[in-house]
Amino acid sequence: MTSAEKLSIAGPVVSLVIAAGTAVTAISGLISNLGLRPFWADVSTSVVFFALVLYWLRLTFQPANRKPETGFVKKAVGARAAWRNVSILHFCFVAVFFGFFIFFAYPVFSHIFNPTWKICGTITGNCAPSYCVIGLDARSRPIFPECVAPLDSSGYIELVPIDYTTYRPITIRIQCAGKDLQVLRLPNEFMSPKCNGRIDLR
């Protein structure tokens, strides 16, 4: 491979990384500034990436589908090389953006098919029952804006979705007197309808 060929490959790869990184940063920053809950943040982000996928798909297939307008045959060697370079780069953009789309759309779809949940159980020890709990989704984002306090002095707590767009928490962040105490993965008993789970904070 000649240096000219290497440059011709490196250039599109760098531009691809820069474009993808910029897209993710810009979209994430925008969504975060909007203060959306994780579900709507994922929906918005995945819609943007889906639009990007469609856009780059269109660009990818446009040269191949376009018919010569003049009726003359283009220069065979040069035309084939240009088409190949453009389409591979475009295809990479499509693949990367589709990957991001899947990444953001997956939790949305998995939640849509299982939107109801209830987390309940008793948390004891340490500063219980003066603690409060922030539910975190699979990507460690708070599912509620506020910290949820136990329902009584036994440390019994119930987390229920605000609406159908509230993700199921996978971990919880326990706060004591406003300070983070522990981040714990929720045991299976906390998802049981019997609510007989117990976490000891010792």
Binding site: G125, L151, D152, S153, S154, Y156, P193, C195, N196
Partner: protein, 285 residues
């Protein structure tokens, strides 16, 4: 405003040990919910059976308090089951354990069968140690020197120095006594006190054998053979209770009745068969 609410402690001679018996498995009646509750003191020195036995737990929804249908001590915790009417989701439960009251949320209720419903367990674990006086035991025993019994009250002060409580003996009798007199009638009882580490106001420690006179009060209608008979004897104050264990002995020396009873042995009968000893005072349980 001075708080004058007195918390009474009822120590049944038989019930003192009743809770120590193995728990029998009982089911709640239809249309009620079984509520399992676990109560556990954090400190190991507060996890003794006699402490849990003294707690007399009750569960209430609005006003009606219910006693547990079963109690058991396992792994240093008191495990009990209550039966309550099916509550609404918004209702609250009030659990009273000794002088403490817990306002509890309703847990999910599972239908075990067509009749049986069970609430998810309520766990009150690692609770702070008691900070009140517990009546550990109340015993009656016969002495050779007297035909009247002696009483021994064993207390344990988990808190700071306590001002003390009033010790009262109660006896009920039904149908088998004929008494004549006016109401209220009095029965004079002489009590000698001996306490460990105690300064009993009514007893001079220099003269421990000195008798202290107490009045036993007869109430209700006594001018009948068929009337219920109620005898209440005030044994006086325990005096100041220091932290830790305290044992007080009351020895009855002589009993006189200023009421016409069917026989002179009736007074003795009441003290030997009598019903219960109470220690009454704020923060005594």
């Amino acid at each position: 405003m001075k708080k004058i609410v007195l918390i009474g402690c009822f120590v049944l001679f038989s019930a003192t040990h009743a809770l120590a018996q193995p728990a029998t498995k009982q089911n709640c009646s239809p249309n009620t919910v079984s509520v399992p509750v676990t109560y556990h003191f954090k400190d190991t020195d507060a996890q003794y059976a006699w402490i849990y036995h003294s707690l007399n737990p009750t569960l209430a929804m609005v006003q009606d308090r219910v006693d547990p249908i079963s109690t058991n001590i396992e792994d240093g915790a008191l495990k009990m089951t209550f039966c309550i009417p099916v509550p609404a989701e918004t209702e609250r439960l009030i659990l009273r354990v000794g002088p403490r009251a817990y306002d509890l949320a309703i847990r999910p209720i599972t239908k075990l069968s067509s009749d049986l419903r069970e609430m998810s367990p309520i766990l009150l674990v690692e609770q702070p140690r008691p900070d009140w006086v517990i009546v550990k035991s109340a015993k009656r025993f016969e002495t050779e020197a007297s035909d009247l019994p002696s009483f021994e009250v064993e207390l344990y002060n988990f808190g700071q120095a306590h001002s003390g409580g009033q010790v009262v003996f109660e006896a009920f009798h039904y149908w088998s006594l004929c008494a004549r007199g006016s109401t209220p009638a009095r029965v004079k009882v002489q009590v000698s006190l001996s306490g460990q580490r105690l300064r009993i106001a009514s007893s001079d420690p220099e003269y421990p054998e000195e008798l202290v006179t107490r009045d036993a009060e007869l109430t209700k209608d006594i001018n009948s053979c068929s009337a219920n008979f109620y005898l209440r004897t005030d044994f006086g104050t325990t005096g100041r209770l220091p932290p830790g264990p305290i044992r007080i002995r009351y020895t009855l020396k002589r009993a006189e009745a200023k009421v016409s009873l069917t026989s002179s042995e009736q007074i003795k009968y009441y003290f030997t068969r009598g019903y219960r000893l109470k220690v009454i005072g704020e923060g005594i349980w």
